[in-house]
Amino acid sequence: MLKTEIKTVLAAARIRGWVSEPDAKGLLSASGLEVPRFIAVTDPRQIEPVASDLEFPLAAKIVSGRIVHKSDVGGVRTGIKSIRELTEVFETFSRLDGFEAMLIEQMVSGLELIIGAKMDDQFGPVILLGMGGTGVEIYQDVSLRMAPVGTEDVEAMIKGLKAAPLLSGYRGQQAVNRDELIRTLVCFSEFVMAAADMIESIDLNPVMCSEEKCIVADARIILPPVEDLTAG
């Protein structure tokens, strides 16, 4: 059943080349991953009723078919404290390329990790875990494994990170809930195996990991170019 849902959403996004953030989060949530509460608005008049349902501060992100890396174009705002501020952000976003909607989302805190997947030509689906945020490619602190991964694989992946001590509560900082992180990666691996022949790569970045939970704050599912898709 999950597979059917994945297929439907991915097929609909084929022409665009990647899955929009709300759709991606919907799929991940259905696969057992935690995502923040979010609502998409297409009209500034929707902001007030929607925001009253959430708790400030909030985050806002652009939904656009033409923008893959939202923060590169100023399409992500965090720490929004009022409805007025939300409305201003909406005005700004609506002038960006290909604006479709604005995502209003509950802010989450924790250690920023990246969880990713890639279809490798020689080895098939591969899972990545690393230190996340906008600096991922500067630090390049990542562990890779061939999917599917089990508990032991994930333990070894965590151990393999240079920043592993940060996850266990370095110098008085709060530790990451290891069982939740393992559960998140194993669920993600299952999702990746189910979607393997339909995706090219996935970034969940950042995944905010705290003592309680691991929450996927942003998700990007890249699809293979249409000519590469095989039947099925």
Partner: protein, 474 residues
């Protein structure tokens, strides 16, 4: 811990062919060399025929449609005319004749072939290569190549078109090396021979049209003559890497891989962080480690790993004790160990006095015993034995490196054999460094013939310990 999410199976990859019978191919009693030349004396097929005829314990027949006489031996006009059934056909005819030759081999009940000839996928003739593979697969007929050197089995056969006097051959032993490149195989054989590491089989698989790394992995896993499997790999076909690593994990013997093309990444622009950070080589390396395959990052590692793993199988944590007659050598070894993730636990005062009690009176006051142990240039065989005995018993260590400088005046040529016995008795891996100079041969062989690997460099000795650390339980 069981999660709600249960990992599922991977997507189905390339379909697997039937397992071939490689026995006749790799251990032939009768061999045919097809495509000898009566006009060109140094034709590759002539070189092959000549060396097999003169050097190997097999019956060999030359084949050329024109018939005649080569080096005083009869040339047969076709494989069907040979007086005996043939186990191995070495095919060195021009590319356009290979398909007919292969068909003749199959019809004549030949056991397998190596196709030396070039002129296939490497020059764009993928179609011709595919026809060979299709025909062979239809008849469960194994062939190596095309565009390869073929096989080398010590004292049994080699199909290399390299004159005997130009080849350096490893002795008979436990390591099998499968190489996509013939040049790399020949070069590695030289290095293995220099190190005294024995081969069970060397195969250059060339364009690997039919028999590929995975097939040989599966064959060698159950080949009683092979103890260590080594591969030089340039790349896998789509999805093939997944099958290979899964089979390697099931293999009850150590598997070592040297990969080339580490720096060439995909040319396609990538739009995700994951795709950018999970480049071809990064994935390759991580996936090997995940499946307990030992990755050698260069040729020195390949040779060292093969030697170490053909002596010791048990994986270790990498807690090393070092014994030497020179403080400098000990310090150099410590530096290299820490660079390669190996630890050197220090002995406390109590432990040190226990070691000191067993040393000779001249060494007792001057030896430094923290680990690395420096027995000084006055050390005798007895001092080395006493230190080795203590280290071999120590539960804090799981490997010992002994750095031997044979110019220290008090040690004898028997020390290699004697130290080997101590460590074997306690079942603790011992690795030796001895400068490879001809006059120390007896000392070196004292180690080697007792199953202790010897490296001519300190770094090589450390890499041998690293190989044990990386090995999977098997």
């Amino acid at each position: 811990m069981q999660n709600t999410c249960v990992p599922s199976n991977g997507p189905s990859m390339e379909s697997r062919p039937a397992a071939w019978d490689f026995k006749r191919l790799f251990h032939p009693k009768t061999v045919a060399v097809v495509g000898v030349s009566l006009k060109r004396d140094r034709h590759p097929a002539n070189v092959i025929f000549n060396k097999i005829h003169l050097r190997y314990p097999v019956d060999v027949f030359a084949v050329n449609p024109g018939g005649g006489d080569l080096f005083g031996q009869k040339v047969y006009t076709g494989i069907q005319d040979l007086p005996q059934p043939v186990d191995l056909a070495i095919i060195a005819v021009r590319a356009e004749y290979t398909l007919d030759t292969l068909r003749d081999c199959i019809d004549a009940g030949v056991g397998g072939a190596t196709i030396i000839s070039g002129g296939f996928a490497e020059v764009g003739r993928i179609d011709l290569q595919q026809q060979l593979a299709d025909l062979a697969r239809q008849h469960d007929f194994p062939f190596i190549g095309p565009n390869c050197l073929g096989i080398y089995v010590p004292d049994r056969i080699d199909t290399f078109f390299i004159p005997s006097e130009r080849m350096i051959r490893p002795v008979s032993g436990k390591v099998a090396l499968v190489s996509q490149s013939g040049g790399v195989l020949v070069d590695q054989m030289t290095k293995f021979a220099e190190q005294g590491i024995g081969f069970s089989l060397g195969v250059s698989i060339g364009n690997k049209a039919l028999v590929r790394e995975l097939d040989l992995l599966e064959y060698l896993a159950s080949d009683p003559g092979t103890g260590v499997l080594a591969f030089y790999i340039e790349g896998f076909a789509r999805g093939e890497g997944r099958d290979f690593v899964q089979a390697a994990r099931r293999c009850p013997k150590p598997v070592i891989v040297l990969k080339s093309g580490k720096t060439s990444e995909g040319m396609r622009a990538v739009s995700s962080h994951t795709a950018s950070m999970a480049g071809d080589y990064a994935v390759f390396s991580a996936v090997l480690a995940q499946h307990g395959i030992v990755e050698a990052v260069n040729e020195l590692e390949l040779v060292s790993f093969c030697e170490a793993l053909s002596c010791y199988r048990k994986p270790i944590d990498g807690r090393v004790g070092i014994i030497s007659p020179s403080g400098g050598h000990g310090a150099l070894a410590v530096d290299i160990c820490s660079r390669h993730g190996l630890s050197i636990p220090a002995f406390n005062q109590e432990q040190q006095s226990k070691i000191r009690a067993d040393l000779s009176s001249s060494v007792q006051p001057i030896a430094s015993l923290t680990n690395p142990i420096d027995l000084t240039g006055s050390a005798t065989d007895g001092d080395f034995m006493a230190a080795a005995e203590y280290l071999a018993r120590s539960p804090e260590l799981d490997a010992i490196i002994v750095l031997l400088l044979p110019y220290t005046p008090e040690i004898t040529s028997d020390l290699g054999a004697r130290l080997s016995r101590v460590c074997r008795r306690h079942n603790k891996p011992l690795i030796a460094y001895v400068p490879h100079v001809e006059r120390y041969r007896m000392l070196i062989e004292g180690f080697e013939f007792n199953g202790v690997p010897v490296s001519p460099s300190i770094k090589g000795a450390v890499l041998m310990v690293k190989a044990l650390k990386r090995n999977k339980p098997c």
